[in-house]
């Protein structure tokens, strides 16, 4: 009996990892295909007064269309396929931390044209500017962690 149980948990673990890896690869491919790994493309969108490139709206639009049309169905289930429960944010109200954090993020995004997903994805190109940005971004995360404690 115990070996059957062990086998099941092993399969569950494998499926869990496979889902995670496939999801990561799809996410990265989406960022590459859409051109969002290129900071120039992102700045092209944020530069309303320049040679404006609205592509990012279509990336968000494509992504949000898929998630909005499916999340509600997924969340009607009692639990996900390979986990005991859904891990969803619990806070519901706006607060200063949220808005201040989003504002600081927006400023950094506007300076470098990079946000966390594209930065990590582009890291594999070993582009020196991306490596530098990611190093600083990790430091920023560690600093926030220290301040929060």
């Amino acid at each position: 009996m115990s070996s059957v149980k062990e086998q099941n948990s092993h399969d569950g673990m494998f499926a869990h990892s496979a889902v995670t890896l496939v999801s990561g690869v799809l996410f990265g491919l989406g960022l590459i295909i859409s051109g969002m790994v290129n900071p120039g493309k992102v700045i092209g969108f944020l530069d309303l007064a320049g040679d404006w490139d609205p592509s990012l709206i279509f990336v968000m639009g494509g992504g949000v269309t898929v998630t909005t049309s499916t999340f509600w169905l997924v969340l009607r289930r009692e639990r996900p396929l390979f986990e005991r429960k859904f891990f969803l944010p619990t806070k519901a109200d706006l607060d200063g931390r949220l808005l201040m954090g989003a504002a600081l993020f927006g400023i950094g995004w506007g300076i470098g044209g990079l946000c966390p997903g594209p930065a990590i994805t582009a890291l594999a190109t070993l582009d020196p500017s991306v490596v530098l940005f990611v190093g600083a971004m990790l430091l920023g995360m560690v600093l926030q962690n220290l301040v929060a404690e």
């Binding site: 499926a15 990892s17 995670t20 999801s23 990561g24 799809l26 996410f27 990265g28 491919l29 989406g30 960022l31 295909i33 859409s34 051109g35 790994v37 290129n38 120039g40 700045i43 944020l46 040679d51 404006w52 592509s55 990336v59 968000m60 494509g62 949000v64 499916t70 999340f71 997924v74 969340l75 289930r77 996900p80 859904f86 109200d93 949220l98 808005l99 201040m100 954090g101 989003a102 504002a103 600081l104 993020f105 927006g106 950094g108 995004w109 300076i111 470098g112 946000c115 966390p116 997903g117 890291l123 594999a124 500017s129 530098l132 940005f133 600083a136 990790l138 920023g140 995360m141 926030q144």
Partner: protein
């Protein structure tokens, strides 16, 4: 609007959305990169393991694309090294303070009709537009 690429943007966006749905349906997690990255730094054990696996997936995507596609991945650097460090610090600190970035708030939060994610998305977009206007048109800092 000569750089506008609506078709590849839509297809890429759909990939990102599909990734988020697979993650939620399979493992019950929100595919928010800053949260996954922050958790990979601060957590231990299984909580750290799946996060590192997801981040590895992002890196593998680049290697797969480079292997399979004839067109190279274009990275046009937008700021000096000094400014990139400032940008990185702000993005790292800000996304953790604000509990999310373009993916967690933008792609996933909006699909959950989260008031916080709507507010965060509007805020970082607005500050992104303002920052680019200030750096590109008032200070002329672009490289």
């Amino acid at each position: 609007m000569e750089n506008f690429t609506p078709v590849s943007a839509l297809i890429g966006g759909a990939f990102i959305g599909l990734s988020a749905v697979i993650m939620l349906a399979g493992n019950g997690r929100i595919a928010g990169i800053s949260g996954i990255l922050g958790g990979a730094i601060s957590s231990r054990g299984d909580e750290r393991r799946w996060r590192i696996l997801f981040l590895a997936g992002l890196l593998i995507a680049t290697l797969l694309y480079q292997f399979a596609s004839s067109s190279p991945i274009t990275i046009e650097t937008q700021a000096s090294p000094e400014l990139l460090v400032i940008a990185g610090l702000l993005v790292g600190f800000g996304t953790r303070l604000g509990s999310g970035c373009t993916s967690g708030h933008g792609i996933c939060g909006i699909a959950r009709f989260s008031k916080r994610s709507f507010a965060a998305t509007v805020t970082f977009m607005l500050f992104g537009f303002i920052t680019v206007y200030v750096t590109r048109h008032l200070l002329e800092l672009g490289v």
